[in-house]
């Protein structure tokens, strides 16, 4: 029984962090692009901005449980299977990316425009502005985005459990919901709660350390 929980917890952690990583690998550049192409920004471009914005909105509108099923052909193509932890990583990453893109854009909006203007006046290129001004200045807020994303992914990965993704979600669903084993279900819940608390506390700590405002 203990093995079951350890395995489930480990699978949940793997799904959360690995898909969080790929989610950011996709979402952060999207967020940067959607921000810098906004009206009045350093690479204003109406066409790119609207196209990207529509794309992000469409993916954010799809309920995650449906996204998993909808993406099965693509998931098979990428990892060769549609069941298990590896298969869950694909919809989790794709589901998180547009969410991360919007949060990144929001974090950048909090950076005072004067800083971007001053950097332009000093001859910074758009790349330098993103890399040396926007990202470092928005870092405390970006760390909060990471925290929120990881916690959302813990929830999503549990949802994935219902369709065979593994992890604590699957244990909770099979033993608790299908088998009506209340003890197992509550242990799963307690583990999820503890995981969320740890992620949130760590995120708060790092964000605070990064904040010099």
């Amino acid at each position: 029984m203990l093995d079951l929980f350890v395995k489930g917890l480990w699978e949940t952690i793997v799904m959360t962090f690995v898909s969080g990583f790929f989610g950011f690998a996709l979402g952060l550049p999207m967020g940067v692009l959607v921000f810098i192409t906004r009206k009045g920004q350093i690479r204003e471009n109406y066409a790119v901005n609207s196209a990207l914005s529509v794309f992000i909105n469409i993916f954010r509108a799809i309920p995650f449980i449906i996204l998993i099923v909808w993406m099965i052909p693509f998931t098979r193509m990428v990892v060769g299977t549609s069941i298990g932890v590896a298969a869950a990583l694909v919809p989790l990453s794709v589901g998180a990316a547009p969410f991360i893109a919007r949060m990144t854009e929001n974090s950048f909006l909090e950076v005072p425009y004067g800083l971007i203007e001053a950097s332009r006046a000093m001859g910074a290129t758009p790349f330098q502005i993103v890399w040396k001004v926007l990202i470092p200045e928005a870092l405390p807020s970006l760390v909060n985005c990471v925290t929120i994303t990881l916690i959302t992914l813990i929830g999503y990965s549990a949802m994935g459990g219902a369709v065979g993704a593994g992890g604590l979600g699957q244990i909770g669903y099979q033993y608790g919901y299908v088998g009506y084993d209340l003890v197992t279900m509550n242990i799963v819940l307690a583990l999820l709660v503890i995981l969320v608390f740890i992620v949130q506390a760590t995120g708060n700590y790092i964000s605070k350390r990064a904040d010099h405002r």
Binding site: L115, M122, A124, V133, P136, H212
Partner: protein, 226 residues
């Protein structure tokens, strides 16, 4: 040397056009301090932003040290801007960097070697009198200290020109006085040309050689300061 020739700047689009500057010509000779004064909404802010093309004029020419900035490519413009320092009313220091790294920022932009950055930043800290604050973050500095950091940062690449956008408007009178003396000292020591905009006549009297009066987007007069 700064020469603005027949600058017109219009904002807005699709029928609703607002003219911020209309046919303004201004010449600031090398080594001089020119003050532009006017009420809020007179176009001062737009005018100073036209000098480094933070705002691109709708019509007219911007010539800095003999180069017509309007004809430069974005990367050429970025290089020229590194030789035009600028300071702001709200300082615009990077909150994520300490004083040392804020001053190092413009040097990093053109890939100055680390040892040279180190040496140059220490010179600048000394010049503006905040050596003891090198490792502090801007949030822990007073307004006057922040503006000193901003001045050091603006001077890092040895610019020929310094633009001051209401640089003392957020400071109390005593601090304003010390910052103005510092600007004057820099002008005399380094021969740097200064264009400043302000709504305070006292600032003009304190350090300017010449004053230009702006009203409703038009240049009303230019005269020597006695």
């Amino acid at each position: 040397m700064i020469a603005l020739r027949n600058i017109t700047k219009e904002f807005g689009s699709r029928g609703r056009v607002m003219t911020a500057l209309s046919d303004v010509s201004l010449h600031v000779a090398a080594g001089r301090i020119m003050g532009v004064i006017g009420e809020s909404g007179a176009g001062k802010s737009t005018l100073i932003r036209c000098v480094n093309l933070l705002e691109r004029p709708t019509r007219g020419e911007v010539i800095v040290d003999g180069v017509n900035l309007m004809q430069l490519s974005p990367s050429e413009l970025a290089k020229v801007r590194r030789n035009i320092g600028m300071i702001f009313q709200h300082f615009n220091l990077l909150a994520s960097r300490n004083v040392f790294d804020n001053i190092a920022f413009p040097l990093e932009l053109n890939n100055t070697p680390r040892a040279d950055i180190e040496r140059r930043v220490h010179e600048l800290l000394k010049l503006v009198g905040i050596e003891s604050k090198a490792l502090e973050y801007p949030a822990n500095l007073s307004g006057g200290q922040k503006q000193r950091v901003a001045i050091a940062r603006a001077l890092a690449n040895n610019p020929h020109i310094l633009l001051c956008d209401e640089a003392t408007s957020a400071l109390d009178p005593a601090t304003t006085h010390t910052i103005l003396s510092l600007l004057k000292e820099i002008n005399e020591k380094m021969g740097i040309t200064i264009l400043l905009i302000t709504h305070e006549p006292d600032v003009v009297k304190a350090i300017c050689d010449e004053v230009a009066v702006l009203g409703g987007g038009k240049l009303l007069e230019v005269k020597e300061v006695q």
